[in-house]
């Protein structure tokens, strides 16, 4: 037995009489116990433990302990014997060997007598000798006297410290042996939990010694006690340097171990360049290589930049082939760290470690001699190699890959072989390798058969006797569940995992079971798993409830296929997690708060009142703490709607009121008043009348207890609930479940066409729907009420209505992109309207590039702002919410343009049944987005116009400028700057707009002057502009000259919005 000496075994008593008299003798001494019985004794013992404070208590405890020892001899064998402040070590075999350190002399004598009594005189001498030993020899004496009490211990230690201090300071020079002794004593005192503030210098001095043990103690003291920023570190490092250079390998090793133990940045700087030499130098001994590898690893972890890469790095991987298994074991750890930082440089290690691994797993346990651990060949090395391989993808070379697969198969095969030993060490070591192999299999995630085998192996562990194995199996399976190859295989163990959840005694194992259930959950088993989790929640350990609640909520949301199921689950969750006060309460509080807020709205739908009545009645207490939603406010709020409601709602509200009586006794009188009013008590509606009278007597006559029982929190109430829920369902977002478009779907909507008259551009105006995305929460319902678009509420529906043509003329074409995702009912309708050309006659409108000239858009402001961005930019985000991002990219060639609309799915789940529709109100042209280029009718068609920038010199510019200076061709505006007046930004904007910027034309360099051509199908329209900023007034004056009068005006308007 390990630590056997601590087990208390008394010799068998010579005879029953002797036994009895032993007790008599003993209890004579313990008179205060009085009449002896086992029970009283046990009670006394526990009492004594409780009372064990002062020294009187200690004495009493020790007496009782001795008594307990005696008793236990009869009851069982009992490993005892250390009690704080009172140390008793009794080791009795056929000769008595005892080490007794007790608080008071009386007790020592007592125990001594007892022992003598039992074992006979012949062993007395050895006993005495040992007692003396305990009392007088070195550190043992120290500890011997330490037994007395905390104070005595402190006193003794202080005395010893004072002694050592005086020795260190004394005139007499200490020799190495003495120094070592005192440094060692200091360490001992430190390890007992005391602070040591001297002796460091002496320890450093020891490093200079030639004697190995003195050096060794010195290094130990430094490793344990000197912090890395101690000023003595310089001296230490000098010594380390000397020892590293020593020809004696044991000294080199000491230095390496010390560096590895401290591993400070300074040390890395100083020694990192030296150590690689020891590692790859041919003549260094194996032990030096081992220490050097791990020492370098430590420095590399501390300060990777200090470790120079170089020649040695290419040689270090060949240590994997070293004959000495210890060297390989140490080197693999170093290589793994290097690989993590720079995998490409060490690729060669993959095949080397696979062949090394192959040699190990195929060897019999006798081959590796001392590196076999309980019949498992080199488990540490195997695990390290398997972990190293997890830093790389599966090897590309097929021979290497097959070899690895063979290794992994061999490991899996060994797992099912009958064990070679019954010892837990054998199974632990074997399974350690197995688990690491499974980790590698999961990491590679490429071989379905291995994954499935791994899974079935883990499945067996799920019902293993060893708690540790069950724990690890559950943990590894979590990873397996994430692989598509083994997800189904994992699901087969669902039942076992559920059993584990119910029956495991250790909460951390249950926690793993919860994790695994969570990981293996998908649509097919969600209801079952969530059901089990809910059942478990009722009895779950408090420490994991919070997480459990969250997991249930997430699964319910993620995999809900049926809305009622979802709501029932959440309500159950609320009910079960009820008293569990933590952040989870927000579910209930949130519902209460949300309906409260909804009810505050001046007008609200009757159904909202119903929901509100129900929820406030159930959970109103949760928000009562807030002054804004005090009990009476809640009541007033509900009652404020009362007279507007239909009889069934009123009846429901009455129920809510009586519940409020239970929750808030302080508003009882108000509610009684309502109940007994004629309007209710004598209502023509029988239901209301009956409720009013029943609730009235309940409120008047019942005690709080009765109320609390009768009006207890509701269990789910499916029948009545369903009608409300049905309403809710329509409006709620179905869960992300429905969303089935993996990744990003990009659609193009090229629009081209000729517009012969009006040039229309297709503006894309997006208006976020008023009722934004609902959530799972009740607010969906509220939002629904307000949403006036016909697309279903939930989604994003950003429909912009087509802007009407502003400038008046021309046929407006409208294009609207409508994307509907059926389940989500996401209606995105972005309408584009064509703008009418300012002058219909000319047929060419001066539309700017993309889009939009659209005129008085009725779309929401948000939409306007969004599309205005595209006046100066060719691409950007048009609309974005939690689910979807819509981006636009345009490019223009001559008079035709292409607008690409990108839809980005921001959810982790795919979007299902995604469609996008181009809605063209005027021509009722609908264009399926999935379909490439469908010509758009010419009226709508968008001849998007592009301004092409033109270059010209000053003379030409002014010549043109003057040519175009007819009043109708010129348009001038003076306006306030909308953005900070920064020249660079303005420049970018103008260039983005499509104008060229001409420098050196205007006499004032602050002014911007430029030219551009608006191209339309019907012809090109040259335009010139001049922009004069006025920094002081933060104003601009913008003048645009253009061939077509309308164009100048429109350009002017557009530019105005941008700068």
């Amino acid at each position: 037995v390990l630590f056997a000496p601590l087990t208390f075994v008394l010799p068998p008593p010579a005879n029953a009489k002797q036994h009895a008299s032993a007790f008599q003798f003993f209890f004579g001494k313990l008179q205060h116990i009085g009449q002896f019985s086992l029970e009283t004794f046990a009670n006394q013992l526990s009492l004594a433990k409780v009372e064990h404070h002062g020294s009187a208590g200690a004495v009493r405890t020790s007496r009782l302990l001795v008594a307990a020892l005696l008793l236990n001899r009869r009851l069982c064998s009992f490993p005892i014997v250390i009690i704080e402040g009172v140390l008793i070590f009794v080791i009795v075999s056929n000769i008595v060997v005892a080490e007794i350190v007790v608080a008071d002399d009386e007790m020592s004598q007592l125990i001594l007598l007892l022992l003598v009594f039992w074992s006979g005189l012949h062993s007395l001498i050895s006993l005495l000798l040992l007692l003396l030993t305990a009392r007088s020899s070195g550190s043992k004496r120290l500890s011997a006297n330490m037994g007395k009490s905390k104070e005595a211990e402190e006193k003794r230690i202080n005395k010893e410290l004072a002694n050592i201090r005086s020795k260190f300071k004394g005139d007499k020079a200490l020799d190495g042996y003495q120094k070592k002794k005192y440094v060692c004593k200091l360490l001992f005192i430190f390890l007992l939990g005391n602070d040591i503030d001297f002796g460091h210098m002496e320890a450093v001095n020891l490093l200079n010694s030639n004697k190995y043990t003195e050096k060794q103690i010195g290094y130990l003291f430094i490793s344990v006690l000197i912090s890395e920023n101690n000023e003595l570190m310089r001296l230490v490092q000098q010594n380390l340097k000397n020892d590293l250079a020593s020809r004696n390998p044991v000294h080199v090793n000491l230095a390496l171990e010390c560096i590895a133990n401290i591993g400070s940045k300074e040390m890395a700087e100083m020694f990192a360049p030296e150590i690689p030499k020891l590692l790859v130098m041919g003549d260094a001994g194996d032990t030096v290589k081992q220490s050097a590898a791990l020492c370098l690893l430590k420095l590399f972890r501390t300060a990777p930049e200090m470790v120079p890469m170089g020649d040695w790095t290419s040689r270090v991987i060949h240590l994997l082939n070293d004959q000495h298994m210890g060297v390989v074991t140490a080197a693999v750890s170093l290589i793994e760290a290097l690989v993590k930082r720079n995998p490409d440089d060490f690729k060669g290690c993959v095949s080397l470690s696979i062949s090394r691994l192959a040699r190990i797993v195929t060897s019999s346990y006798t081959d590796l001699q001392d590196y076999t651990y309980y019949f498992v060949p080199a488990p540490w090395l195997s695990v390290k190699l398997l972990r190293l391989l997890q830093n790389y993808p599966p090897p590309e070379d097929t021979t290497v890959r097959n070899r690895l697969a063979e290794c992994l198969e061999t490991i899996l095969n060994k797992a099912v072989e009958p064990p070679k030993s019954k010892k837990v060490q054998h199974s632990n070591a074997k399974n350690a390798v197995l688990f690491e192999a499974i980790s590698l299999i999961i990491h590679m995630d490429s071989d379905p058969s291995l994954l499935v085998r791994a899974c079935s192996q883990l499945g067996q562990f799920l019902s293993n006797r060893e708690t540790n194995l069950r724990y690890l199996a559950l943990e590894s399976m979590c990873l397996l569940a994430t692989s598509e190859f083994s997800h189904d295989a994992v699901k087969r163990h669902q039942e076992t995992v559920v059993t584990a959840l119910k029956s495991e005694r250790d909460v951390s194992v249950r926690q793993r079971a919860v994790d695994l259930l969570y990981a293996m959950c998908d649509r097919s088993n969600a209801e079952e798993i969530v059901g089990e989790m809910l059942t478990y929640l009722e009895t779950a350990d408090y420490s994991i409830r919070g997480e459990l609640v969250l997991k249930i909520a997430i699964l319910a949301e993620k995999y809900a296929s049926d809305y009622t199921w979802y709501v029932d689950t959440i309500l159950n969750l609320i009910r079960l997690a009820g008293d569990f006060v933590s952040e989870e309460v927000w579910y209930r509080a949130y519902a209460a708060k949300t309906v409260f807020e909804a009810l505050e709205a001046p007008a609200c739908h009757e159904n909202m009142v119903k929901v509100g009545g129900y929820i406030l009645g159930e959970f109103g207490n949760l928000i009562a703490g807030d002054a804004r939603s005090s009990p009476s406010t809640q009541f007033q709020l509900l009652h404020g709607k009362f007279h507007l409601c239909s009889p069934p709602t009123r009846a429901l509200l009455l129920s809510a009121y009586i519940k409020l009586v239970n929750l808030f006794p302080e508003i009882r009188e108000d509610i009684i008043a309502v109940l007994e009013s004629d309007a209710n008590l004598r209502n023509s509606n029988v239901e209301i009348q009956q409720r009013a009278s029943e609730y009235l007597s309940l409120a008047r006559n019942s005690t709080q207890d009765v109320l609390a029982t009768v009006l207890e929190e509701m269990p789910p109430f499916p029948e009545r609930e369903s009608s409300i829920l049905a309403q809710l369902r329509k409006k709620k977002p179905a869960v992300e479940d429905a969303i089935r478009v993996r990744g990003e779907k990009q659609q193009q909507r090229p629009a081209s066409g000729a517009a012969d008259g009006a040039a229309a551009s297709a503006p894309i105006a997006a208006t976020p729907a008023s009722g934004g995305g609902g959530g799972v929460k009740l607010q969906g319902d509220i939002a629904g009420a307000e949403s006036n678009t016909d697309s279903d509420l939930l989604g994003l529906d950003f429909g912009g209505s087509a802007p009407a043509a502003a400038a008046g003329g021309g046929g407006a074409g409208g294009g609207s992109v409508d994307l509907l995702s059926s389940i989500l009912d996401v209606g995105v309708s972005s309408s584009s309207s064509s703008s009418a050309a300012p002058s219909a006659a000319s047929g060419a409108s001066a539309q700017r590039k993309t889009v939009v000239v659209g005129a008085g858009a009725s779309g929401s402001i948000v939409g306007e702002e969004n599309w205005h961005k595209f006046v100066c930019k060719n691409s950007g985000v048009l609309y974005e919410n939690d689910i979807l991002q819509v981006g636009v990219k345009c490019d223009y060639q001559q008079s035709s343009g292409r607008i690409v609309v990108y839809y980005g799915n921001k959810t982790p789940a795919p979007l299902a049944q995604f469609a996008s529709v181009i809605n063209l109100p005027d021509s009722s042209l609908t264009n399926q987005l999935g379909i490439q280029v469908k010509p758009v009718g010419d009226r709508v068609g968008a001849s998007e116009q592009v301004n092409e920038s033109s270059e010209m010199d000053s003379a030409t510019f002014f010549q043109h400028w003057k040519q175009l200076s007819q009043p109708e061709q010129e348009c001038q505006k003076i306006f306030q700057a909308k953005f900070p007046m920064d020249a660079e930004t303005t420049k970018t904007k103008i260039l983005g707009f499509g104008f060229s910027l001409l420098s050196n034309i205007d006499s004032n360099p602050a002014n911007f002057v430029g030219a551009g051509i608006v191209q339309t199908k019907s012809g090109n329209i040259g335009s010139l502009f001049r922009l004069e900023p006025n920094q002081q007034a933060q104003m601009y004056r913008l003048t645009v000259h253009s061939i077509k009068p309308g164009v100048s005006k429109r350009l002017c308007e557009l530019l105005e919005t941008q700068i």
Binding site: L2, L6, T213, V224, V250, E257, N428
Partner: protein, 163 residues
Amino acid sequence: MMHFMLLFSRQGKLRLQKWYMAHSEKMKKKITRDLVTMILARKPKMCAFIEWKDLKIVYKRYASLYFCCAIEQSDNELLCLEIIHRYVELLDQYFGSVCELDIIFNFEKAYFMLDEFMLGGEVQETSKKNVLKAIAAQDLLQEECEEPKSLLEELGIVSTGVA
């Protein structure tokens, strides 16, 4: 890699501590206190692994002593149990049926042995024979450089004049 190893008694007294990551003394004491309380509260037959901060605690009890290691997420728990076991075997073989007192009074040997077995938080030499050989070599050096003392002197019964 291993972050630290602690040995403590059933009474919560720390008997050996080995830190492979730098911490302040205050931090070390706090960690020790937390872990000792946590582990002593656990029942036998419970799982020997605990999630603790971002580390994994692996512990095992041998008679009156608890061995407790903190390893990283990627480390192998089962093998860590065997690291503990191998260390106990080393101690046992060296001291010959080791007990808590051996570790208390010969702490330096316990440290030297641990350094031979593990370095910088990684296993260095798994062969029991090799580790014990290294320690035996150290002891030999010790004997060479220290004059032998009489048994009674060692026991402290005959005073050498040095307190």
